[in-house]
Structures are given as structure tokens and as C-alpha cells.
């Protein structure tokens, strides 16, 4: 394999070098970070233009077996050194198919911000992130074994340009190393292996190295992750994440002893991982963690003003090859993620999984917008496959528009913000309450219809007719009662006017009240007349009629007495008689009034009870 690649590279060098020989790489520092399952290679390149023409692009090449696992490639121009380094420009990186390039190599063109003149140099940082590049070896281990991994790369920087000076540092998680390729200038410092410096190497130089080392870091891979983000304009962004996680480390063979694992987990299960930590946004609320069976209680949550940390433990320790599926969900405040700009609303949300150092084979990001959203567009910092669907949720009629963003091979570097723009009118928010209101109103209407409907089958039977007549009588009696109580209310008014008189001594006001009371009572009697005559003619009302008539006469008597009393009092005031004198005069009336009022009340109660 290595030999074949060498031959290809040689061929490439012969075919290719004349076209691209203008640039020279003065210095390359490569740092390979193997401390987690994700391989991160940072290369600092210092390029110089030795040709006559200005150069605007730098070509990077990668062998295709690496490109297959390449999840993320990023280039920035770097100025300064060490911590003072400022990343001023993000450079655009595009895959390119150059003529004459062997199929085992893939090229990427980095565009420089400004053309590089003759003799000028430029420094840039290139970050390449690979997944599934660490191969467990041996592939199968037992519960107590440690996990060993193999990493392959080239000690020389693979470049179409001549490289003047270069070095490579491989950072391992632990100092325990099984073996590593030793070539000239190889040094081991603790858990770092250093190759180089090597000087003046021709284009496409290649020297394979293999590092075999121990790593018990979690190999958590989500084979599929569905993140559903549901927006409610009533103040919430609900996130639900469906994970399907597998440990892609060395597969476990033999039996698993829970007892041994429980007693000494670090010795009897070093290759497993027990928990995953998710870093959620600040002000996260209503967090849950469950699977198909139900809630999983082994989780912890910490929160401060900057972030919320959720630690979740699967139901069992995750050994190599073992799988688990679970769901986590949480709510976020709307104002942190939804914004309005130029009449359009947009969601600003982070792509990728919040779980630390997890690889996602296929990520489906579903953004569920509220019903009534239009003109949906997505802007993302990297290419994503986009599709649409609708989802029916609470109180929906036509379903909510859903945007599905699909991406494979997602690493934590993809946790960048993307935006979903849409238009939405505030009136659409009233859909849900209106649905509820009409739902309740429908119930009321149904009840009203039921109460109004006549659902008896035989409309001509004597009992039905009698019932109808009786209902009519009842209705009339109710009306009579109603009129009587209105009369009583007028009486109250008269009494009140008398009290006013005793307080203020203004006779005129009292008289006007009397006048209006007279006319009201007259009208009420007019209304009552046809009702009474109806009752007298109706046979059904025979037994109740005397009582009703009694009520009417008593009421009239009461009224007469009251009027007399009123007249007397007003008279006395006009003659300016003393308080005692007035009292003496109305005393007799007052007693009768009290008795009559009691009788009227009793009669009303009696009729009511029928």
C-alpha cells in the first residue's frame, strides 16, 4: 500500500511539478492532536513566491483515504506568534480537480486575500479534522483490556511545492505507547512524539509513520442524530434530540461481568465510557433525558449565567460495539434565538450536537416553524442538504413548515450558527386561541340547540299537549312574577326618596320621584293585564290562579298604602310639621305596609316553588 502510494506520488511529482513550482513553502509546523477520537491536524504554513507572477491561490493536497474521513477543513491567515496570534482572515477553501493529478490525491485551493508578489511570503493556518481515522488494534478486546489505537500518517508534509523546513508533533493522550515508527530526527517527550526538523524536501515527499498507542477516551459516535427545534412565538424554543449512539472503539469479546465492573470500574472496564456531557446554552429550562422505556434518572445538571451543563449516563456502561438510543429535550427562551431584522424574522441557532467530542455520522436538523410562516430561506456557514416537510402538532390545521438540514460526518467544529429566515404576521399567533375559543363556543351552541329543540315523537298526544299548555302557563306566571318584582323595586325607590327627604328636606325631588313611579307602575299594570286574562282563560292554570290573583291584589294594596304614606309625609314636610308628628301620622300605615310586604314575599316564594 505504502509502496503503491509512493509510486503514485512519484508519478505526480513528475507530471505536476512544472505547473506549480512558483511557490515554495519555507516552513511547515504540523501538530496532530490524538487526545480524543477526533483527529485534529493544525498546520502552520509559511509560503513564499519565488516566481515572477503574482500568486493568489495555494494548493493543498490530501491523499484520498484521508479525504474520505475529512470532516472539516478550515484555513485562516495568521499573523503574530503564540498567544498574540490574531486570526484576521478566514480564507475560502474549495475542492478542485486539477488536470494531471493522480486519482489518489484530492486538491483544495486556498484563496489568498491579496496576490502574493515576487519574494513575498504569507503565513496561514490550516485546520483539518478527521473522523474514524484512529483504528482500534486489536479490534476485539475483553472487558479488562485497555484500548489500543493505530494512527497512520506521513512524517513529511504532503505538498505539491518544495518544502524548505518542516516538523511534525503528534500529541497522544497518555505516555503509554506500544510502538511508533522511528526515522531520523524522531524524539519522544512524555506523551508527544516529535518528527523533524527536515529540510529541503522535494514536492510530494512521503514517509509513512504508524503510531500504536493506548487511549481510553470515549469513542462515542452518534450513528444518527435528529435535532428538532420547534419555535413557539408564545415564548419558547423547544429542542428535542434523538440520539442513536454507538461506541466505535475496540469491540468487546467474552462475557461482561457487571459485578467486576461495579467493584473496580477503572480496572475492569477501562475502555468503556459511562457518561456524556452536553453543553447547553444558558437559561435552558425543562431539561429531560429519557429513552423508549421512560425517564433515565442518572443525569446531572449544572447551570450558571454562561452555560448549562448536562451530564447524562446511559443505562449501562458503553463498551466497544455497544449501542444505546436516548432522547434529550430542553426549552430555551425565545428572545435569545429569534430576532427580527428588516421585516423578516430569523432563528439564529447552532448546528451540531451539544455533546462534547462526539462524532455524528448523519445529522438531521429539523426546524419546525410556526403555522403561517412563509418565504423560508436558510443561510449556513457550510454546505448542507436541505429539504422540506410539514408536521402536525398541537392545535394545528394545515401543519407547520419544517426545514430539514442534513449533513454527514459532523464534528464539534460544526457547532456554528446558521440562520433560518421567514416572514410571519403577528395575527397568525391568534390562530391557537381562536381555535380553542371556537371549540368551547361550539359546545355552548350544541347545548343551546339541545335545549331549544323539541324532540318528542308524537306531537299530538294529549299528554304532550297538556305539557305544552302547562309550560305556557308557567311562562306566563314567570312573567307576572317578574312584573311584581319590578313593582317592588319601584316601591323601594319610593322609600328611598322618603329617606332622602328626611335628610335633605327637598320636597321637589321627592315629588318628581313619585311622578315617575306612578307612570312606571301604570305601564307595568298594563303589561300585567293580558297575562292575567290568559291565566283566567286557561284550564291548566286553575289551581294556581287564586294565588296569583291574591298576589296581584296584595301588591296593589301594598302600593296604595305606600302611596298614602308617601303623600302624608310629603304633606307634613310642606306644612313643616315636626318629626314626631310625622311619625305618629304614618305609624298606622307603616305597620300595614310591613305586614303586606311580608305576605307578598311569601306568595312569591310559594309560586316560585311550583
Amino acid at each position: 500500500m505504502g509502496l503503491r502510494l509512493d509510486l503514485l506520488l512519484l508519478a505526480a511529482a513528475l507530471l505536476f511539478s512544472p505547473a506549480l513550482s512558483d511557490l515554495v513553502i519555507l516552513k511547515v509546523d504540523r501538530r496532530v492532536d490524538l487526545t480524543s477520537q477526533i483527529v485534529r491536524v493544525t498546520s502552520t504554513l509559511k509560503v513564499e513566491n519565488n516566481g515572477k507572477d503574482a500568486v493568489t491561490e495555494v494548493l493543498l493536497v490530501f491523499p484520498d483515504r484521508q479525504v474520505k474521513n475529512l470532516a472539516y477543513l478550515f484555513a485562516v491567515s495568521s499573523a503574530g506568534k503564540g498567544k498574540a496570534k490574531s486570526y484576521s482572515h478566514t480564507l475560502s477553501v474549495n475542492e478542485i480537480n486539477l488536470k494531471g493529478m493522480p486519482p489518489s490525491l484530492v486538491g483544495y485551493l486556498v484563496s489568498l486575500p491579496e496576490p502574493l508578489g515576487k519574494g513575498e511570503s504569507y503565513t496561514l493556518d490550516v485546520l483539518a479534522v478527521y473522523t474514524h481515522s484512529l483504528k482500534p488494534f486489536p479490534e476485539k478486546i475483553t472487558q479488562a483490556d485497555i484500548q489500543l489505537l493505530v494512527f497512520e500518517d506521513s512524517a513529511y508534509y504532503l505538498s505539491p511545492y518544495e518544502v524548505k523546513a518542516q516538523s511534525l508533533t503528534v500529541k497522544l493522550p497518555q505516555a503509554r505507547i506500544e510502538s511508533y515508527t522511528r526515522i531520523e530526527n524522531t524524539k519522544l517527550h512524555g506523551s508527544d512524539i516529535k518528527y523533524g526538523p527536515y529540510e529541503n524536501l522535494p514536492p510530494f515527499s512521503h514517509s509513512p509513520i504508524v503510531v500504536h498507542f493506548e487511549s481510553n477516551r470515549p469513542f462515542a459516535v452518534a450513528r444518527e442524530l435528529v435535532r428538532e427545534v420547534e419555535i413557539s412565538h408564545w415564548g419558547n424554543v423547544q429542542v428535542t434530540e434523538y440520539y442513536n449512539v454507538v461506541n466505535r472503539g475496540s469491540e468487546i469479546t467474552g462475557e461482561f461481568s457487571r459485578l467486576e465492573f461495579q467493584a473496580r470500574p477503572h480496572i475492569r472496564g477501562p475502555s468503556s465510557f459511562r457518561n456524556l456531557v452536553a453543553k447547553l446554552p444558558p437559561r435552558t429550562h425543562s431539561v429531560y433525558y429519557r429513552d423508549e422505556i421512560g425517564n433515565i434518572s442518572t443525569s446531572h445538571l449544572w447551570s450558571d449565567s454562561k452555560k448549562t451543563e448536562l451530564e447524562i449516563e446511559p443505562r449501562y456502561p458503553m463498551f466497544g460495539g455497544w449501542r444505546t438510543a436516548f432522547t434529550i429535550g430542553y426549552g430555551l427562551p425565545l428572545q435569545d434565538f429569534l430576532f427580527e431584522s428588516e421585516g423578516k424574522r430569523f432563528l439564529n441557532f447552532s448546528f451540531g450536537s451539544p455533546i462534547n467530542e462526539i462524532i455524528v455520522d448523519t445529522l438531521f436538523m429539523k426546524i419546525v416553524l410556526p403555522e403561517g410562516s412563509n418565504d423560508i430561506t436558510v443561510t449556513a456557514p457550510f454546505p448542507i442538504k436541505e429539504s422540506r416537510e410539514t408536521k402536525l402538532s398541537h392545535l394545528d390545521l394545515v401543519g407547520r413548515p419544517v426545514i430539514i438540514l442534513e449533513k454527514s460526518n459532523v464534528v464539534p467544529e460544526h457547532n456554528q450558527y446558521f440562520q433560518v429566515y421567514y416572514t410571519f404576521s403577528g395575527i397568525s399567533m391568534l390562530r391557537e386561541p381562536l381555535m380553542l375559543i371556537f371549540g368551547f363556543f361550539f359546545l355552548f351552541i350544541t347545548y343551546i340547540l339541545y335545549m331549544h329543540a323539541d324532540i318528542s315523537i308524537s306531537k299530538s298526544s294529549p299528554s304532550y299537549l297538556a305539557k305544552m299548555q302547562w309550560e305556557e302557563v308557567q311562562a306566563v306566571i314567570q312573567q307576572v312574577e317578574n312584573i311584581v318584582s319590578r313593582c317592588l323595586a319601584v316601591h323601594e325607590k319610593l322609600e328611598a326618596s322618603l329617606q332622602d327627604l328626611s335628610r335633605t328636606g327637598v320636597v321637589q325631588a321627592c315629588k318628581s320621584v313619585r311622578k315617575s313611579a306612578d307612570s312606571t307602575l301604570k305601564e307595568l299594570y298594563k303589561e300585567m293585564k293580558p297575562l292575567l286574562s290568559f291565566l283566567q282563560s286557561s284550564s291548566q292554570a286553575a289551581h294556581i290562579l287564586p294565588k296569583v290573583e291574591e298576589l296581584v291584589t296584595k301588591e296593589r294594596e301594598l302600593q296604595e298604602k305606600l302611596m298614602t304614606k308617601h303623600l302624608t309625609v310629603v304633606d307634613c314636610y310642606e306644612k313643616k310639621l315636626g318629626g314626631r308628628e310625622i311619625e305618629n301620622r304614618i305609624n298606622a300605615h307603616q305597620q300595614k305596609i310591613t305586614v303586606l310586604r311580608q305576605e307578598v314575599d311569601d306568595l312569591l316564594d310559594y309560586i316560585d316553588e311550583l
Binding site: E230, S232, H233, W234, G235, N236, Q238, S286, G331, P333, L334, Q335, D336, L338, F339, E340, S341, E342, R345, F346, N348, S393, H394, L395, G426, M429, E432, P433, L434, L436, I437, F438, G439, F440, F441, L443, F444, I445, Y447, I448, M451, H452, E471, E472, Q474, A475, Q478, Q479
Partner: protein, 76 residues
């Protein structure tokens, strides 16, 4: 123009209170509706009064149940 954060029309913290009060008012009006239906006679009943009471009750019950859903975490 800088993007402006979007908030809910009613602050979240009010949802439980609003739910309780609106549902209470709605249920009282519903009760009065049913009392009216049960006590008044068919002949004397006024359709307009029934409809108005029903409509007012359903507005209160509708918003009340919406806020109940929101306060219990079902964001519609």
C-alpha cells in the same frame, strides 16, 4: 438595522396567573349560562342572551386554557 430580539406578547411569568384567573372567570360565566338554561322556561328564554353568555364564556375559557397549556410547558 441591528436585529431585534423577539419576545412573546405576554411575559412567560404571567401565564399561570392568567390561566387561573381567566379560567375562573370563564367557569363562573359558564355556570351562570347553565343556571340560566336550567331555570328559565323555554318560552321566556332569550337566544341573544344565551349566545352572548356562551360567547363571553368561551373567550375566557379559550384564553384560559391556552395560558394553562403554555404555563404547563405545552408551547402551542
Amino acid at each position: 438595522m441591528a436585529p431585534k430580539p423577539i419576545t412573546s406578547p405576554v411575559p412567560d411569568a404571567w401565564y399561570p396567573t392568567l390561566a387561573v384567573f381567566m379560567l375562573a372567570i370563564g367557569l363562573v360565566i359558564t355556570a351562570s349560562f347553565f343556571i340560566y338554561e336550567a331555570t328559565s322556561l323555554r318560552k321566556n328564554r332569550s337566544l341573544a342572551k344565551e349566545l352572548i353568555t356562551g360567547a363571553v364564556a368561551s373567550v375566557f375559557l379559550g384564553f384560559g386554557s391556552l395560558f394553562l397549556l403554555l404555563s404547563s410547558g405545552v408551547y402551542v
